[in-house]
C-alpha cells in the first residue's frame, strides 16, 4: 500500500508544479480583475457622490436665492419700485468687482476649477496692491506655509481668496467700499433689506461656484464610467 501511495505521490509531483504556475497566473488575473472592478466601483461611486452633492447644492442655492428675492422685494416695498429698477443700472465702462479664477485641477484630470475672487475690482489699483501686500505679510509671518504654498496650488488659491475672507482690517474696508459702490447705484441711503439681499446673492454666488466645480467633477466621473463600460464591451 505504501509503495502504491509513494508512486501516486511521485506521479503527481510534475502535475502539482504545473498547477502551481497555473494557479499563480490565475491569482494574478483574479487580482487584476479585482483591481479593475475596484477602479470601476470607485468611478461609479465618485459619479454618484458628485451627482448627489450637485443636487444638494442646487437645493441650497434655491433657498438662498429665494431669500435674496424676498429681501429684494422688501427693499423695493420700503424704497419704492422706481428706486430699485434696472433702469438705474450703471452702463458706463467698468470692470466686474467679483470675478473668477479658472485653473485646471491637475494635468491628468482635465477638469476646470473655479475660484471666486470677491470684490477684487480691477479699476482700483490700490485694492490689488493692498491684497498683494497682505499676501506678502502672511508669507513672511509663516515660512512653513509659504513653503507649502510654493509646492501646492491649492494653497495659492486659498491665498488669493484670503483678503476677501476679511481676515484683516484694510481688506475689510476695501470690501465694504466695493459693496457700498455696488449699492450706491440705487442711492446713497439704501434700505437694510437691500444690504441683506446683497449678502444673500453673494452667498448664492459662492454656492454657484461650488455647483460649477461639482458639475465639472460629475462630468469627468461620468466620462470615466462611460469609458469603463465601453472597455467592457470591446475588450
Amino acid at each position: 500500500m505504501e509503495s502504491h501511495k509513494e508512486s501516486q505521490e511521485g506521479g503527481k509531483e510534475p502535475e502539482s508544479d504545473f498547477d502551481g504556475i497555473h494557479n499563480s497566473e490565475n491569482e494574478e488575473q483574479l487580482q487584476n480583475q479585482r483591481q479593475i472592478q475596484k477602479q470601476d466601483d470607485e468611478n461609479v461611486l465618485n459619479f454618484m457622490d458628485s451627482l448627489d452633492y450637485y443636487l444638494t447644492l442646487m437645493d441650497s442655492l434655491s433657498s438662498t436665492l429665494r431669500e435674496g428675492w424676498m429681501e429684494l422685494a422688501s427693499a423695493r416695498h420700503s424704497m419704492g419700485a422706481s428706486r430699485i429698477s434696472t433702469a438705474l443700472l450703471d452702463l458706463k465702462f467698468h470692470h466686474a468687482a467679483t470675478c473668477l479664477l479658472v485653473t485646471q485641477v491637475d494635468s491628468i484630470m482635465e477638469v476646470p476649477h473655479f475660484t471666486l475672487c470677491k470684490w477684487a475690482s480691477l479699476t482700483n489699483g490700490n485694492s490689488r496692491q493692498r491684497k498683494h501686500d497682505e499676501n506678502e505679510t502672511v508669507k513672511n509671518a509663516n515660512s512653513l506655509c509659504a513653503r507649502q504654498r510654493a509646492t501646492s496650488p491649492s494653497f495659492e488659491l486659498q491665498d488669493k481668496s484670503l483678503p476677501s475672507n476679511g481676515s484683516s482690517l484694510p481688506a475689510d474696508e476695501q470690501v465694504q467700499k466695493e459693496r457700498s459702490k455696488s449699492l450706491a447705484v440705487f442711492g446713497t441711503l439704501v434700505s437694510p433689506k437691500l444690504r441683506a439681499s446683497q449678502h444673500s446673492f453673494e452667498t448664492a454666488l459662492e454656492t454657484l461656484i461650488e455647483v460649477a466645480n461639482m458639475r465639472s467633477l460629475m462630468l469627468f466621473a461620468y466620462d470615466q464610467v462611460l469609458k469603463n463600460m465601453a472597455g467592457k464591451k470591446d475588450p
Binding site: 451627482l51 473668477l100 461620468y222
Partner: protein
C-alpha cells in the same frame, strides 16, 4: 481625453447672467456686472418683451466670449432655447441653470443631468448585459 482642448487658465474671468430682472439685479449687487469699452454688458434681463432670438444671440455671444467662465441662465429661459443649451458641451464657459422666482428648479430639465441620465436608463443597463 487627448483630443480635448487644454483648459485655459484665466486670472479674472467673468460670470454672465441671462435671467429675470430681480435675479440679474441681485447678482449685480453681488458685483458681477461688467461693462466693456463698447458698452457691452455681461448680462441680459429677460422679460415678457424679450424675444427668443435675443436670448439665443446673448447665449451665443456669452458662450463665444473668452473672458466669460460661467454663464448663469434661468431654467425657464434655458427651456426657451433648449436645443442650443443641450447641444453646448464645452467645459468653459460652464452653463449653470438656476431657478427663478416663478419657476422652481427642475432637475429633469437640467441639461447636465439629462446628459448623465443615460447611466440610469434601462437602455444602458440592457446594453451592458448584452
Amino acid at each position: 481625453m487627448a483630443n480635448r482642448p487644454q483648459i485655459p487658465t484665466k486670472s479674472s474671468a467673468l460670470i454672465a447672467v441671462i435671467a429675470d430682472e430681480d435675479t440679474v439685479t441681485g447678482f449685480l449687487l453681488a458685483g458681477v456686472g461688467n461693462v466693456d469699452l463698447r458698452r457691452k454688458t455681461n448680462y441680459l434681463i429677460v422679460d415678457s418683451k424679450t424675444t427668443v432670438k435675443a436670448i439665443e444671440d446673448a447665449f451665443k455671444e456669452f458662450t463665444a466670449r473668452e473672458d466669460i467662465a460661467i454663464v448663469l441662465i434661468s431654467q425657464y429661459v434655458a427651456n426657451m432655447i433648449r436645443f442650443l443649451v443641450d447641444s453646448y458641451n464645452k467645459p468653459i464657459p460652464a452653463i449653470l441653470e438656476i431657478p427663478s422666482k416663478d419657476h422652481p428648479y427642475d432637475p429633469a430639465h437640467d441639461s447636465v443631468l439629462s446628459r448623465v441620465k443615460y447611466l440610469f436608463s434601462a437602455e444602458s443597463v440592457a446594453s451592458d448585459r448584452r
